[in-house]
């Protein structure tokens, strides 16, 4: 489904065909791929096929992330009733592991709760990915289930609001005047 919004100066817009090769290159990088559930290398052909399938599902949102007119990464939301599962990666070298990634996480959660009116957001993280676990915890996620090969984390609106409140002084500087 198509939706465009902007928050903290990051534009979330539908994935464009021109984005998909850069997204594929980032997605295939070892440091990104190794944290994915599906760690296979994606071919150009598979990527085109994936792109062509995006409009077929009404329960998925796929976003290209743009900051200062540069593609910086990708995010998605998969709906399941009142629940949603999110995923994102920042591929642009300058912004990987920066505070901007957290801005993206807050903006995406905000979109899920306030636009999609979801009751909860889930995230599936590989057990070795301590950075993602910490990242999610900063957003207010709590571990719901620990499986041998994955950790399921859940975020409720109340916890999200509490976490965002603590970050507001710095986040507000990222709002455009």
């Amino acid at each position: 489904m198509n939706w465009t919004f902007s928050k903290y100066q990051v534009l979330f817009r539908p994935v464009d065909k021109q984005d998909i090769e850069q997204l594929r290159v980032w997605r295939n990088r070892d440091d990104i791929r190794s944290n994915m559930l599906d760690q296979s290398i994606i071919s150009e052909q598979q990527q085109v096929k994936w792109y062509e399938s995006l409009s077929l599902r009404s329960d998925r949102y796929h976003f290209s992330l743009v900051f200062r007119e540069q593609l910086i990464g990708y995010a998605n939301v998969s709906l399941s009733g009142d629940s949603g599962e999110t995923g994102l990666f920042i591929g642009h070298e300058k912004y990987r592991g920066s505070f901007l990634a957290l801005c993206v996480g807050v903006a995406l959660s905000d979109f899920c709760f306030n636009e999609l009116k979801l009751e909860e957001i889930k995230a599936t993280v590989l057990p070795h990915n301590s950075a993602a676990i910490r990242f999610n915890e900063q957003l207010g996620y709590k571990t719901e289930e620990k499986l041998p090969d994955r950790i399921i984390m859940t975020l409720f609106y109340e916890e999200f609001l509490n976490s965002r409140k603590g970050m507001e002084p710095l986040l507000s500087r990222f709002q455009k005047n």
């Binding site: 300058k94 592991g97 900063q138």
Partner: protein, 79 residues
Amino acid sequence: MNNNERLIIAFSESLNINPAEVRDELAYNSIPQWDSVAHMVLVAKLEGEFDVMLEMDDIIDMNSVGKSREILAQHGVVF
């Protein structure tokens, strides 16, 4: 106290870590103590300590101790 020592103390107090752990390579989100909330505390601490106003780009770029020193130097702080 010189500016380098002030920088180390600012990091140590904001992240609640031992001053000996404050090395140039120490990176944002590489330890549990340097999370986004601590980053916020750190930004405020550095601004107060060195009387500077950090821009959005500075806050994004400030992803290690070494980089923070560089950014402060760009704001006229002499190390």
